[in-house]
Symmetry: C2
C-alpha cells in the first residue's frame, strides 16, 4: 500500500487521513505538549492546515489544549485505547493473576504484546519500594532487547523472525544480543524451554524472566515478564510462579492446552514471598 514514511524532501504527497494521523504521531514520551507551530514544523504541514486540523481534533476530544496554548493527547484517545482487544481486554483478564504474581515475587511485572518489531507493555506493575524501572504502561521496546519480546519472537513465524533479525538491531548494553546467529540460538532455546532469561540486555543490573501466554487455538498472544535486580534471586526459582501465572491467564483466555483438570482457580499466593534486595535501575536512552 501507500508508503507512510515520507522523508518530506519533495512536496508532501499526503492523503488527508495521513495528515490527521501525522499530527497524532508527533506526540511521544519526550513531547507530551506541543504548540501549533511546533506541530506544524514537525509534521511539515502548513500553519493553516495544522491549525484547522488541530481544532477538529480538539473538538472531537483527540487532543486537549492547555492554558498555555499547547496541545496534548486527549482523554478520548486514552478511552479508545482501552478498547484494543490486545490491550484493555487482555489486561482486564490478566490483572488479578499479575497482582498475585507480584505479591508472591516482589518483582516488577510486565504484560507485553507484539506490535511490529516491538513489544508494547499493556500492563506494568512496579514493585513496592523499588527504584523506578524503565517500563511504563504503553511503553514500546524492541523485541530483541526485551525478555518478553524474545518470548514473543520465538513464538512467531519463521518468516517474521528472519525479518526482525535482518533489521537493524540496536545495542543497549554490552550484553544486548544483536548478532543474528546468537539470537537464533537464543530463540531456539526459548522455544524449547518456554522460558526466556535475560541479564542486563536492555538496562544494567537487571535480570528478567518471561514466559508465553496462549489464547484460543493455543496461539501465543502475549508474554508475562518479571524483572528483578541482578543477583537478588536465582532466575530458575522464579520459573514455577511465572509458569503458573501464565497458565492461569492462558486458561482464562481459553487456551486449549491450559484448560484441563481442575476448573479455573487463582493460584495460591505463597510461592516465593522472598524479599528482594534493592538495586539502582538505570534509565536507558529511549525506545525505538
Amino acid at each position: 500500500m501507500t508508503v507512510l514514511a515520507d522523508t518530506s524532501l519533495e512536496p508532501h504527497r499526503l492523503t488527508s487521513a495521513q495528515r490527521v494521523l501525522s499530527i497524532l504521531g508527533v506526540f511521544d514520551t519526550e513531547n507530551l505538549a506541543l504548540s501549533l507551530s511546533e506541530i506544524s514544523r514537525r509534521t511539515g504541514l502548513t500553519l493553516s492546515t495544522t491549525h484547522r486540523l488541530l481544532n477538529e481534533l480538539r473538538c472531537w476530544g483527540a487532543l486537549s489544549r492547555h492554558s498555555d496554548g499547547k496541545y496534548s493527547i486527549g482523554l478520548r484517545i486514552l478511552e479508545l485505547g482501552t478498547l484494543a482487544p490486545q490491550g484493555g481486554q487482555l489486561r482486564e483478564i490478566a490483572l488479578p493473576f499479575l497482582h498475585d504474581l507480584q505479591h508472591a515475587t516482589h518483582g516488577n511485572i510486565h504484560l507485553a504484546v507484539p506490535e511490529g518489531h516491538d513489544v508494547i507493555y499493556v500492563e506494568s506493575l512496579r514493585a513496592r519500594d523499588t527504584v523506578p524501572v524503565p517500563s511504563r504502561l504503553g511503553g514500546r521496546w524492541p523485541m530483541h532487547a526485551t525478555c518478553t519480546g524474545l518470548v514473543l519472537l520465538a513464538n512467531s513465524s519463521q518468516e517474521f523472525q528472519e525479518e526482525v533479525l535482518s533489521s537493524k538491531l540496536r545495542q543497549y548494553t554490552v550484553n544486548t544480543l544483536t548478532d543474528p546467529d546468537a539470537l537464533r540460538h537464543s530463540l531456539a532455546e526459548v522455544r524449547k524451554s518456554s522460558v526466556a532469561v535475560m541479564e542486563s540486555q536492555l538496562t544494567y543490573d537487571v535480570m528478567a524472566v518471561a514466559v508465553p501466554i496462549r489464547g484460543p487455538r493455543d496461539r501465543v498472544v502475549a508474554a508475562v515478564g518479571i524483572t528483578v535486580p541482578s543477583g537478588s534471586i536465582a532466575p530458575h526459582s522464579l520459573v514455577p510462579a511465572m509458569a503458573a501465572t501464565a497458565r492461569s491467564i492462558s486458561r482464562a483466555l481459553g487456551a486449549p492446552s491450559a484448560v484441563a483438570e481442575p476448573p479455573a482457580q487463582r493460584p495460591p499466593a505463597h510461592w516465593q514471598a522472598r524479599e528482594v534486595k534493592r538495586a539502582s535501575f538505570t534509565r536507558p536512552s529511549g525506545p525505538r
Copy 2:
C-alpha cells in the same frame, strides 16, 4: 466552531478529518470488533470511502485487522493514550500511593479525571477476591452519578456546574440524584468538607467515598475514589486514609497546599487493614 454531532439525515457534510474520527468513534465497549460494512453503516460513509480510510488507519496502526476480516482499535492508539497528561502521567505518579491505599483498605480504588460532563477512570484497582466492579480503566461515567464525579464537579466553575445540572441527568438507581437542587446541596457539602460520600447511586449495594487531588496552583485535577460493599464499613472510617493518599499525590504533583513540613514520603501502610465483606456488585446498563 463546527458542530460535530450530525444526526445525518441530510447528506453528510463532513470534513475529511471528521470522517477519519467518525470511524474511530464507532468502537465502544459493546463493539470491540467491527466489519467494513458495519463500520460503513454506522458512520454513514460509503463503502468505498470507508474501505480506503480503514486501510490508511490500519497501515498507521490505529486499527488492526483480525483473521475474520473485522477491525479493532490498534495498539498504537493504546500507546498514544498513555501520553495524555491527565492519563498516563498522572497515573504513573499516583499508582504507588493508590496501591498503598488498596492494601490498607481492601476496597476498589479509582483515579478519575474530568472530561466533558463525565469522568474517565485513568486507573482502576479492583480489590482482591471481590466480585467484578463496574469500572474499567478508561471507563466513562456521568459526573452526577459517581462519587469521584461529584468531587470534580464541586470543584469546577459555577458556570460549568450549572451547565451540567441543566443537562439531562440519567437515573441509574432509585438513589441517583437527578434533581438539580438536591445536587446543588450535595455539591455545597462536598466543597465544604472536601469529601464526597455516596450510597448506591450508580449501582446497588455499593458505598463510595471520594476526595479531590490538587496539582500546581492548587487546582483540583483529579479525584481518588473508593468503593466497598454497602454496610461493610463506616464511610467516615475510610476518610483518613483517603485524605492522606490524596495529600501524598497532590504533593507529588506539586500542589502548594500539600507541600509542607516533612519532605515527600509514602504514607505508612497500616491505617485500616480491616477486612471487607464480599458483596454482589451489579453491572449497570452502560455509560452515556
